[in-house]
Amino acid sequence: MIRVNERVLLCLSLTAAEPWPENATLYQPLKGEGFFSSSCSLYHLQTYLRMCGLPVQVVCRPNAEYMSPSGKIPFIHVGNQVVSELGPIVQFSKAKGHSLSDGLDDVQRAEMKAYMELVNNMLLTAELFIQWCDETTVSQITRHRYGTPYSWPLNLILAYQKQWEVRRKMNAVGWGGKTVDQVYEDVSQCCQALSQRLGTQPYFFKIPTELDALVFGHLFTILTTQLTNTELLERVRSYSNLLSFCRRIEQTYFESKDS
């Protein structure tokens, strides 16, 4: 899911010495436009950067997807560089000397990576599925939200193109034949695993890590996005420790700093 391209790595090694500039900018599409995936990665990234203590300014542009060097959102503009996608951005901040997972031992780091892939593998795919493969959601919400910034024929064409692409992807990962109920079941399974792992701790490991930022990004988006029914919301809500985890991160990293 997350790809680090060579060029970015090259940039990283060249600029590792420079400190994080004050005027870093994070570009994202208009609120609610790409809905699930873009707002997940946006919250993930913002949380991550705030956990690192790196200041960033958020700018909304309807054509953010086409401004990004790799065509993926979100991307950040730091000093004289543009870095896109979550993986490279995390690498980039690491190269600048900001890392969250340094305090973990090898086994913990392995577990952290594994849980991050669990979220990418199940929650992200489930979100895409519900957003693009559930007929009622597609016709009532997704197509409209995705096409908003464009004028008439283009909005439909782009929405259908995206839907076609997502369906092919679902077939490739073996989710093609699933029903919506099965997908909800998968979401429950994933939340169950996360909830078990979290237990009564404030964070997944003893310090805030990338995993916390990622889980918060996804759960917070699910909790705050309105869908045609509340099934997905209810599934997540039934895990009380995940709910309080989200509230805690929101209070620590968003409310106190926004005020």
């Binding site: 086994v107 594994a114 892939e117 990418n120 593998n121 992807k169 077939n171 695993a193 078990q196 792992r197």
Partner: protein, 322 residues
């Protein structure tokens, strides 16, 4: 339970019970859980009930083809290898299975199906040799294009092709995944203590083909071999749960292997020779008929039509005379 559950999977080689990762996962899980399955090792995906391998036919004649579905079905039948795991360990298994799906699987697809030398020398050759006659010409190629398509969609790159850059990227993810697995396993016998669970089945299924298959481009194999605990983990499972295949592998590694293979294949070879002779004969006959070198119908028609012609001509002559 009237009829036992049946599992259709790819044949084994290289000392493995099966060559396909998904089949290995199911086989290993069934062994760990002690599920009595009727295993049918075949090399013709068209003979499986779902048209792909692995396929699982339950006693109610239902067909399952996804690995996770098969394992869930076995679990419902009280064959549960994860019975002793705590909830947290269950969560960890799920996480590491996802890790392999995301990081190791693309590299596996690449090594076996996309890397040109490996594909031509090993994968295509193996499937072409083992599949029955007409299928072996087109199925391996079709399987490859399916895998390429899958990799493209997984990586989100429509124009992805085999090459240094892609290989580097995939192998970096894969070696990272292998390192993480090795760190998690540590010095334990299995991932969660002394008895194997579904995570062990998944890890075994993904690693064993890399470890045992001799590929011309074996970078992943080299890396895996350097991680002693993972390499030992795979050989241990082979030794404990698939003793017969493990021994086959050892005997096949010795020089007389090709001869033994030939002897085994004699009946099917005869059949192939006969079939090709029939097809060649048919083609030649068809060509001859089409171009008119041999024309049976024509001759018969002329033979039938000739007498009336003669009569007609005769009558014409009579009229002319008259």
């Amino acid at each position: 339970m009237a009829a036992p559950d049946e599992l259709f999977c790819w044949e084994g080689d290289w000392g493995l019970p099966s060559v396909s990762t998904d089949c290995l996962v199911v086989l290993a899980y069934a062994q760990f859980a002690g599920a009595p399955l009727k295993v049918r090792k075949i090399c013709n995906p068209w003979r499986s009930p779902s048209g792909s391998l692995p396929a699982f036919r339950t006693s109610q004649k239902e067909t399952l083809s996804r690995t996770s579905d098969i394992i869930i079905h076995l679990r419902k039948q009280k064959f549960n290898a994860d019975y002793d795991l705590s909830a947290k360990e269950g969560a960890d298994s799920l996480a590491f299975i996802s890790l392999m799906d995301e990081k190791l699987k693309p590299a596996l697809i690449y090594t076996f199906w996309i890397e040109p030398k490996n594909y031509v020398d090993v994968t295509r050759r193996w499937f072409a040799e083992h599949m029955p006659f007409p299928l072996n010409f087109f199925l391996p190629g079709r399987m490859q294009s399916q895998q390429l398509e899958k990799l493209r969609l997984l990586q989100g790159d429509e124009r992805l092709e085999a090459g240094e850059e892609l290989e580097k990227e995939l192998y970096r993810d894969a070696t990272e995944c292998l390192n993480l697995l090795s760190q998690r396993l540590g010095s334990q016998k299995f991932f969660f203590g002394d008895s194997p669970s579904s995570l062990d089945a998944y890890v075994f299924g993904h690693l064993a083909p890399i470890l045992r298959c001799k590929l011309p481009n074996g970078k992943l194999q080299q890396h895996l071999k350097s991680l002693d605990n993972l390499a030992n983990f795979c050989s241990n499972i082979l030794l404990l749960y698939f003793p017969r295949d493990g021994r086959d592998g050892c005997s096949q590694k010795s020089p007389p292997q090709p001869d033994a293979g030939d002897f085994d294949n004699v009946p099917s070879k005869r059949r192939k020779q006969l079939l090709s002779a029939v097809v060649a004969l048919g083609a030649m006959l068809g060509y001859a008929l089409l171009t008119g070198i041999v024309s049976i119908q024509h001759v018969q028609q002329e033979a039938l039509e000739e007498p009336p012609d003669l009569e007609d001509m005769g009558s014409h002559e009579e009229e002319g005379d008259g």
